[in-house]
């Protein structure tokens, strides 16, 4: 039996994978875009279809996330508009850098090194944040205070009572946009820390605004690829069925589990991502198939581990169980 030309097994695989990604997205507000495209590539989809379908899926999932955050008043439209305009310009700049580097023949090497380095850096920062919470929070507050004390007009007041220079927001968006265009990624994993630690925007509003920005850029990206028919609509449809449910489970878990308890796992996932990309590239350059397998296992294993940790930690809280082996493991 087939549904939209897909076997029941594949339908279950896509819904299950969507559930996993949705749980991560609902809990952390990020972590979706860098999992779907590699998964589709591994399954043998052409690279344009993998990227186009990945973007369409990110668009659909972020629509669901943005609706939820809007209902809770956690979206700052001023911040989203400034960031979107600045990032769009930045992305064009980043693309120009890529074309320039392609002409010199150094694009692949530099992009991969920068991608691995950034993932590792954000992973290490998150890990440090998880281990020494008080000190890091103080240091990040210092940075946000300093940024808020710079009065370059026009000044804007954001949700949560944060007053900051629109010029600085624009500058940060521009830099993140250049990095996004250069690396070919959504930029969510850079935008959210920049808003929280750099501007001092409350975490919930940073997540909500980040998701709205991802919705807009995801729609634009999906549109671009769909023009050449490079979006596998059934794949996106089944992934969304799972991710919409997962997003609710992940969001529900945030009410039960302290994010700091899981942060270590999330940092490990980012670090595993950086090792996976490095392993994949080295494997491709030297023709070592084993390294490609290591890369795939690392990406999916880490995603499965972190989403399971989120769900298990939530179940432990519901049962008031802090002594069981699994409960101690998920919250250590």
């Amino acid at each position: 039996m087939a549904i939209f030309g897909m076997s029941l097994v594949m339908v279950a695989v896509f819904i299950g994978f969507g559930l996993l990604i949705g749980t991560l997205f609902g809990f952390f507000g990020m972590g979706g875009s860098f999992l779907v495209t590699p998964a589709l590539l591994v399954m043998g989809y052409p690279s344009t279809v993998a990227v186009g379908s990945g973007l369409a899926f990110v668009f659909g999932t972020s629509v669901i996330g943005a609706l939820r955050h809007r209902d809770h008043g956690q979206v700052d439209y001023k911040l989203a508009v400034i960031m979107t305009v600045a990032m769009t310009l930045g992305i064009e700049g980043g693309k120009s850098v890529v074309f320039f580097l392609e002409a010199t023949g150094m694009a692949d090497l530099l992009i991969n090194v920068a991608y691995v380095g950034l993932l590792a850096a954000v992973g290490l920062l998150t890990l440090r944040d998880a281990w020494s919470d008080a000190e890091t929070t103080e240091a990040s507050n210092d940075l946000a205070d300093r940024v808020q004390s710079i009065h370059i007009p026009p000044m804007v007041t954001l949700r949560g009572g944060v007053r900051v220079s629109a010029t600085i927001i624009f500058g940060i968006g521009l830099v993140i946009g250049v990095l996004s265009g250069f690396l070919g990624v959504g930029g969510g994993f850079l935008l959210m820390p920049a808003m929280m630690y750099g501007l001092g925007v409350p975490a919930a509003i940073a997540v909500g605004t980040d998701i709205l920005q991802i919705t807009i850029s995801g729609a634009f990206g999906a549109f671009t690829y769909a023009r050449s028919g490079s979006v596998a609509v059934p794949v996106v449809a089944f992934l969304l069925i799972g991710s919409a449910l997962g997003a609710r489970i992940g969001a529900g878990a945030t009410n039960l589990v302290d994010e700091d308890e899981i942060k270590g796992y999330f940092a490990a996932m980012l670090l595993a991502g950086s090792v996976a990309v490095a392993s994949n590239k080295i494997g491709a350059v030297y023709g070592i198939d084993f390294l490609n397998t290591v890369s795939t296992v690392l990406i999916f294993g880490a995603a499965l581990l972190v989403s399971s940790a989120v769900v298990l930690a939530a179940i432990c809280r519901l049962r008031n169980d802090e002594t069981g082996m699994w409960c101690r493991l998920t919250t250590s």
């Binding site: 030309g5 369409a56 668009f59 609706l67 023009r227 969304l240 919409a244």
Partner: protein
Amino acid sequence: MFGLESMSGSAQAVATVGLVLAEAIALYAVYGVLSSTVGSAVIDAIGGA
């Protein structure tokens, strides 16, 4: 699939994005209704209440 192939490039793109948007909104609404009707029963069952 879904009759999109017969459309021109831009029309196909608009239809694809619209389809994904419609599915996302529908899923948000359906799961919203489900979680408000059976959500607390599921949470009680998991919590062992």
